[in-house]
């Protein structure tokens, strides 16, 4: 196993975790929880769902730890798990949404960002992100909020770099339309 992208501390932590030392793994959770929680929130638009997704991400990571090859940063690997889980979460949510009536759909849309945002701009930006298709949202969240390059996102989402570039482009076009007013405010 090549652990090139890992520090000695991380390597030791992984080895302890592989030996079923959950406390050692808790150190990992503590180190990366805010990043994963933020990513999950951007993907779901809900604090409650973000908490569930973040927990699920770490649980999944612990179970798949042996398959972590160490050729990327541990945080990148966690992001990959979180993004995949959030894409599946979106699919589940979409399926659930399909069985609602039009009225209920509108009600959900209006209340899709029910959290106590610090300001109106933050609320509106999250609402705009929520209106992006999940894969476009993942691409824009990773590039803008996690400062990943298109190549990194492509590796993380296991697709071509050109695909990510296109998703980012399409997401930007839509966000510009949705957030156009703020530019002049």
């Amino acid at each position: 196993m090549a652990r090139m992208a890992l520090s000695d501390d991380e390597l030791a932590c992984i080895q302890k975790s592989l030996a079923d030392d959950t406390e050692a793994f808790a150190a990992f959770v503590k180190q990366h929880q805010k990043m994963i929680h933020a990513l999950a929130f951007r993907m779901t638009g809900s604090l409650h769902d973000a908490e569930d997704l973040a927990q699920e991400t770490f649980i999944r990571a612990y179970r798949q730890l042996a398959s972590f090859r160490g050729d990327s940063k541990f945080s990148t690997w966690l992001c990959q798990i979180a993004v995949n889980l959030s894409l599946n979460w979106r699919k589940r949510e979409n399926r659930r949404g399909e069985i609602h009536s039009k009225w209920a759909e509108n009600a959900v849309a209006e209340n899709s960002v029910p959290e106590e945002f610090p300001d109106a701009l933050s609320r509106r930006i999250q609402a705009a992100l929520d209106r992006l298709p999940p894969k476009q949202r993942a691409a824009i969240v990773l590039t803008v909020y996690e400062n990943c390059s298109h190549a990194e996102v492509a590796k993380l989402m296991q697709c071509a770099e050109a695909t990510i570039s296109w998703r980012v482009f399409a997401a930007r076009q839509k966000l510009k339309r949705l957030l156009g007013g703020f530019h002049h405010e």
Binding site: D20, E23, K30, L47, E51, Q55, R63, A66, S67
Partner: protein, 200 residues
Amino acid sequence: MNNSELDSILKKARRPEPIEEFWEEFPKQVVRRLNRARVEEPRLNTRWVPRLAWGMAIVVCITAAFAIGHWRGRVDTESVASNDILQNTKFVRETLALFPNQVRAIVRDQHGFNLDLASTSDVPTSTPIYVSVCDGKNCSSCVTFSGQEVQVAGQKLTVLSDGLGGIILMGDHFIWSSNRRVAMGNSLKIEAKNLSSITL
């Protein structure tokens, strides 16, 4: 709005922050879930999952191949048995036509085919009779005529046909009748029938 302006707007978005205790509690919750899951079901070492999957796949393939081979083998054996060439009308008719009234028997055993011919053309014309005899694994079959004496599976048999289409086989130590379907006095597996579809 250009891309950098959009990015700067997006980066202005702040998230509703969970309370500070949340971050203290979150790792503990994860650990609790891990411990609970470990108690409920032993953690499957994921390193073994692909190997286990491959192993299972190989076992399934071998089992399937064995089952198919076994099945085909059975089918082939059965088809050979039921499609004994001596029951092939064309084969028998053409062989008999080569030696009119001379063929006493066409015998097939583990060494191949033997043609038992009379020195003169005095074999009476009648319906050919197919006889198959198995003595353990030693099986032989023949096509002959009523009244002929043949050597099949090491048994010397006299083949007789009655007027009603019944067949009687008389060996040195037994008698077999197609009407009774049992051999008296031995444990040979015997089959005999008229090849009435062959008209000479």
